[in-house]
Subunit: 428 residues, 2 copies
C-alpha cells in the first residue's frame, strides 16, 4: 500500500517555508501501515499539478495533496483536479452557508472570493474542515484515491485526524502494523544503544527498533508487522517491559506524552502546585506548562525576572548574592526558588538563570552556562548545564532538563532514594 504526498505552492519551491506538513503526514501514515513512495513539491501551475497526479498514480494507489485551496487567484488546485478527472465544477451551498455563518458571528460579510471557494469538482466528496473555510476533498476513481486539503498545518491536521484516517482505514486493507514508543531523557543515542545492544540483537523477525533523538531526549520506537494484531500487541508489550527492566531510570513516559504532561500528571496525583521563576528561559517553561489544557489545576504562575531588579523585587534575591556570585550562579537560582515559593505561594518551584546566547558570555561563564534549581520548603536540588551557542536550542534543551528535574524531585519524595542519586541521572 503506497502513497505519494504532493505539496502545491511556490513558497516551498523558493524555500520561503520548510515543508513540515509532509513530515507529519509521513509519520502518521507510516504508523497506519501506509508506505510513502515519494514526496513531491510542485508549483501552483495547472499543468504541473495534472502531470504530478498522473505520474504519482503510476506508482501509488493513494495521493495526499496539500495547498492551493484558498480563495485567492494563485490557488488553482481545484481547477486542475477537475480537469484531470474531466469533470465540471458545482457550487456547494452548505459550505457557503457555513462560511457565511462564520463571518456573521464576527459581524462581517463575505466577499466574492468566498463564493469562489465553494465551487468544487462534481465528483468530490467533501471533508469537513473545522479549523478553516476551505473543505478538504476526497476522490475515488478507477481504484485510486486522491485527497486534497488546505496547506495550513492545523487545518490539514484536523482534516486528516477527523476525516481522512477513518476513511482510509475503511477503504484500504493494510497488513497489521503496531508500534510502541518509549520516551527517554538523560542519555544520548549512542549510550542508550550500548545499554540495550543485547536486547536489540534478539528482536524477532518483523520487529524493528528506531532511535528518534530530540533535545536531551531520545524516543525509542518499536515497530512490528505480522498477521495477527492481538499477537503483535502482546509481543510489543513484552518487549517494552524488557527495555524498561534495562533502563528504568531513563524512561519518563510512553507514546505521545510530553514531559510537561508527565510533570502535570505527577503534580495532580500528589496534590502539589508549581510555580516557575525564569530568567534566561524567559517564560518558556510557563508556556510549555500552560499549553496543556487544565494546567490551572496545578500551575499558579511565573515570575519572569529578565532584569535583575525584578529578581530582587519579586523573588527577594539579595543584591549581595547578585553582586558576589552573579545572576548566573547556584546561589542565585537557589534564592530564586525560595523567593518563588513565597511569591507564588506554591508547594514546588523551579528556577533558571543562564546565558542563552549567542552573545553575552565571559571566559568564566561562557554562552550556554545555565543554572537550574527545583525545591520546596524542605529541600532544593540544583543543576548546571554547559550548552552550545544556539539561543532557541538552549532554551528548549533547558526546559526539557527542568521538567525532568521536577519529575525526579516529586518521585524522590515518594521513594527512599537520596537526592544525590537522583540528580546524578541528569546528563547533558
Amino acid at each position: 500500500m503506497n502513497a505519494t504526498l504532493i505539496t502545491v505552492g511556490d513558497e516551498i519551491l523558493i524555500g520561503q517555508i520548510v515543508d513540515t506538513n509532509s513530515a507529519w503526514m509521513g509519520q502518521e501514515l507510516n504508523l497506519r501501515g501506509i508506505k510513502i513512495q515519494e514526496i513531491r513539491s510542485i508549483s501552483d501551475e495547472h499543468d504541473d499539478i495534472i502531470r504530478a497526479i498522473q505520474a504519482s498514480f503510476e506508482t501509488s494507489d493513494l495521493i495526499l495533496m496539500t495547498g492551493g485551496l484558498g480563495p485567492t487567484k494563485d490557488d488553482i488546485t481545484k481547477k486542475a483536479i477537475s480537469d484531470y478527472y474531466g469533470v465540471g465544477m458545482t457550487f456547494h451551498t452548505p459550505t457557503f452557508e457555513r462560511i457565511e455563518r462564520f463571518f456573521e458571528k464576527l459581524g462581517r460579510s463575505t466577499t466574492p472570493a468566498h463564493r469562489e471557494q465553494c465551487y468544487m469538482p462534481t465528483n468530490a466528496t467533501l471533508l469537513q474542515n473545522k479549523m478553516g473555510s476551505a473543505p478538504g476533498m476526497w476522490f475515488d476513481e478507477g481504484g485510486k484515491v486522491l485527497i486534497s486539503m488546505p496547506g495550513v498545518p492545523y487545518e490539514m491536521k484536523s482534516i486528516m485526524t477527523d476525516e481522512v484516517f477513518p476513511r482510509l482505514k475503511e477503504r484500504f486493507v493494510t497488513k497489521p502494523i503496531a508500534h510502541r514508543t518509549i520516551l527517554t531523557i538523560g542519555e544520548g543515542e549512542s549510550r542508550i544503544a550500548a545499554k540495550i545492544e543485547a536486547f536489540e540483537e534478539q528482536l524477532p523477525d518483523g520487529m524493528k527498533l528506531a532511535y528518534l533523538p530530540g533535545l536531551g531526549m531520545v524516543r525509542l520506537r518499536l515497530s512490528a508487522t505480522g498477521e495477527d494484531k492481538v499477537v503483535l500487541h502482546e509481543l510489543l508489550d513484552e518487549k517494552v517491559k524488557e527495555i524498561h527492566a534495562i533502563i528504568p531510570h531513563l524512561i519518563f513516559g510512553y507514546e505521545t506524552q510530553t514531559i510537561e504532561e508527565v510533570v502535570g500528571e505527577l503534580l495532580k496525583q500528589n496534590g502539589k502546585t508549581l510555580g516557575t521563576a525564569e530568567s534566561c528561559t524567559g517564560g518558556y517553561l510557563a508556556h510549555r506548562i500552560t499549553s496543556i489544557a487544565g494546567s490551572s489545576a496545578y500551575f499558579s504562575g511565573s515570575i519572569v525576572a529578565y532584569a535583575n531588579q525584578i529578581k530582587e523585587s519579586h523573588l527577594n534575591v539579595s543584591a549581595d548574592t547578585l553582586k558576589t556570585h552573579g545572576a548566573v550562579s547556584k546561589e542565585t537560582v537557589v534564592e530564586m526558588v525560595q523567593g518563588a515559593l513565597t511569591a507564588l505561594g506554591t508547594d514546588i518551584a523551579i528556577s533558571v538563570s543562564g546565558i542563552a546566547g549567542p552573545g553575552g558570555g565571559t571566559p568564566d561563564k561562557p554562552v550556554g552556562t545555565i543554572w537550574l534549581a527545583v525545591g520546596d520548603q524542605q529541600r532544593i536540588n540544583t543543576y548546571k548545564l554547559n550548552l552550545g551557542k544556539d539561543r532557541l536550542k538552549n532554551i528548549q534543551y533547558t526546559a526539557n532538563v527542568a521538567f525532568n528535574m521536577i519529575r525526579k524531585f516529586i518521585l524522590t519524595e515518594n521513594s527512599s532514594k537520596t537526592v544525590a542519586e537522583i540528580s546524578g541521572d541528569l546528563t547533558e
Copy 2:
C-alpha cells in the same frame, strides 16, 4: 532555466527528519535566477533513483541530488547514477589519500567502507567536500547536468558554495529573478485581495503576487523575472510602494522580519521598556520576546498570573474587580496593565486574560473570549477577541494581536492619530 531537487533517503519519507536542505537550496538557486521546477523526496531504492532522474530530466535541465553517498549499506545513489548513465565505476586514488590523511590526523585508520566510498562513476567530475569524506559529483551529458552531494546540511552547503554555484554560473546563462515580501496583519487573505484587486490586475508581465496566510497575518510575495537585475529591483520597489499606499495600516514589516522583532526595534528606537502581565497566554508573549537575542535591552520581565491570587498579589488587581467583572474582562486587563507598570517598572505594559480552551467557557464568555490591554502611565487601549476552541492556536493568534497592539500603541504616540482610529484597525 529549470532545476529539480531530489532528496534520497527513507528518513524523510517516514517523517523522521524535516527536509530543510531543499528550502536552503531553493532560496539560493532562486536568487541566482534558477527556477525550481519540483522538489522530490524518494527512498534509497536503486530503481526509484533511476526513475526519478529520468522523469526529472523531462522537465528540467539541471538536477541537484542530495543524500545516499555515505559508507553504509543503504547508500546506493552512486550505483544508481552509474547505471543511469550506463558507465562503470572507477577507484579515485586522490580521494582515498585525502580520507587516509584525515583519519591519520585523528590517530585512526580507515575501514574497508572508506575504500568503497572512493569508487565513482567513470563520467563523474568530482566536487571537493571540505567538510566531510564523500566528495560531490558533477555529470554533464546530453546538454543536461546532474549534481550529487552528501545529505549532511553543512557538507552540502559547503560544496554548493565552493563548487556548484561558480560552475553553474559558467555553464548556464540564467534570467534574473527577484522577490519582495510584504508582511501584513489585521485582515484576512480575501479582504486584502479585495483591496488590492486593481493593483494586482495591472501587474506587468513576468510579475506574480502570492498570498501566504498565517495566524492573523498574511505575507504578500511579489516575484519578477526579466532581463536586467537592476531594472527588476527598481520595478519591485515601485510596486511595494504602490501596495504600501493602498494598505499602509496593515503592513508591519518586510522580508523575513517577525512582529516581535518589529516591536523590539520600535522599543529600542523610542528608548522604551516593556513588561507583560499574562494569564491565558501563560508566558508565551514573554517567550516570543525573549527568543530574540538582545531583548534584555528593552524587556524587563513578566508576571504570569495564572491564578487569580497572583493577579491580586503581584499586579494589584482588586478582589472586587475580579468578583464583579470576572478575570476575563476589560476591567481586569486594565488593572493588570496598571499593576504591571508598577510591579515591573517598565514604560509600557501589555496584559492578556481569556479562556484559551478547549474547556472552561460559559454562555456569557465562551471559549475563545480573550481581553487584551496595552498602556503606559497616560493611556490604555483595550481589545476583545472572539476566537475558536483550539488552545494553542488561540494562544498564538492572541500573541500576534498583542504584538500588533504594542506596535500601534508606540506608533500612535508619535503621530496625531487618535487611539480609537488605531484600535479600529485590529481585526480577527
